[in-house]
Symmetry: C2
Subunit: 252 residues, 2 copies
């Protein structure tokens, strides 16, 4: 038996999110059936995160155990052939048999993309959230910086999450503009339910001049969801990637 | 009566190209029916270019005549409400009654995007052409520069075009890399059938080291289609925009 870690990219548009649900298209469901079919084993992947319906990924992580003799780094080539073209294994590697992607410390990065122009751009409509009118990305960046550190993020989470604690650490957050797209990148040790999308909705209000950048401090402290902004739509969100300590994952 | 010029962006994925065809989804067909429905007139747009099935646009141009009293710059807001979300009018303006977008000189820019990595990226699969293996964009840029100027582009065109002459002028061409995407931008006074896609296929061979950059000169001179590269697929191509002389279009 060996444990394989997959790095997965997907276009979440056609899926009801990561987590398997009977009768619904999910990333986990597609991976389980394609891996099982290909390897002639009953494969059940363990994902590092459960992204919501419509959320995309460039660097999602999952592990599975197999009796296969295929070298760890060759799985990506083999599995991609049988996957739909909106899911791709970007890389594969054998990891420690006891590596569990939700039980070791990690740094996780999400990216949220806003298309900021008078009209939405058709070729970007599935991957950005269209916001009309001026957005000051420098003010948004300033506001976001107040979130760095270990905080209780209750104000920036939706009810319905399964977390035992609402304390998380944000290592870094930045807001930059690339032409008409405003990109929010957040790296943390984990995120509460809808946390990045609520941070985004709040930063949009800052960018529109409706909320002062420093107001973020009070919203954090008050722990009141109603003080934060709206939950920005799923389509703008992308799970960009993970960093694990090398000795946590290295096989052999 | 007044003549309105529309600048149109579309995701070409679901369409059989610009030009109206009975029973097929086309950009021209959608625009004609939505404009006719909205204005209660029989509207037939005149497009500046007829893009092929699957090709995208950020700055396609079309004109139409109307008796409507709506100010020229307000059409975009009004028409977008009734369009499918893969087509958007980016701007609208009243132009000279005799402005015909295919009968006045213009500079037209196309952009071709290559996704250059081991595996394709799902969220970019509809807007890029995936090329595996090393691509040297500097060599591609060097080769492309030989195409600048007035030339007979027979070697870079497919049979089936309706052009009266195979001579065209390329004002500028550049190849740059943005992370994993290699972007070819070509500006010319017009393009033969499949010309940008054949130029792309040829530059890819240069980028792969299969063709020397200077070889482009001989391919041009020989006027032999078989010497040029393959026609790159439609999905990587985007009609980026037009420039017309201001006095050719200004109304009143």
């Amino acid at each position: 038996m060996k444990r394989i870690m997959l790095t997965i990219a997907y276009d979440g548009t056609a899926y009801k999110g990561w987590q398997i649900q009977p009768g619904e298209p999910t990333i986990e469901g597609v991976l389980n059936s394609e891996l099982s079919r290909f390897l002639h084993e009953d494969i059940r992947v363990i994902g590092a995160s459960r992204t919501d319906a419509g959320v995309h990924a460039r660097g999602a992580i999952a592990v599975f155990d197999t009796e296969s003799s295929i070298p760890g780094d060759k799985f990506s080539f083999a599995i991609n052939k049988g996957l739909p073209d909106d899911i791709r294994i970007i890389s594969s590697v054998q990891v420690r048999d006891d590596f569990h992607p939700r039980k070791v410390p990690c740094r996780k990065t999400y990216e949220y993309r806003i298309y900021n122009d008078t009209f939405p751009m058709p070729t970007r409509r599935l991957y950005t959230y269209h916001v009309y009118g001026k957005l000051d990305e420098k003010l948004m960046d300033l506001a976001g910086k107040h979130l760095i550190g270990e905080h209780d993020f209750t104000a920036f989470s939706s009810v319905g999450g399964q977390a035992l604690t609402t304390v998380r650490t944000i290592f870094d957050i930045s807001v930059i503009r690339e032409d008409r797209e405003v990109i929010i990148s957040v790296t943390g040790n984990g995120f509460l339910y809808n946390m990045v999308r609520i941070i985004t909705g709040t930063l949009i209000e800052v960018g529109q001049g409706k909320t002062e950048p420093d107001e973020i401090i009070r919203i954090l402290e008050e722990k009141d969801r109603s003080l934060a902004g709206q939950t920005a739509p799923a389509c703008g969100l992308c799970l960009a990637g993970y960093t694990f300590d090398d000795d946590m994952i290295a096989a052999g």
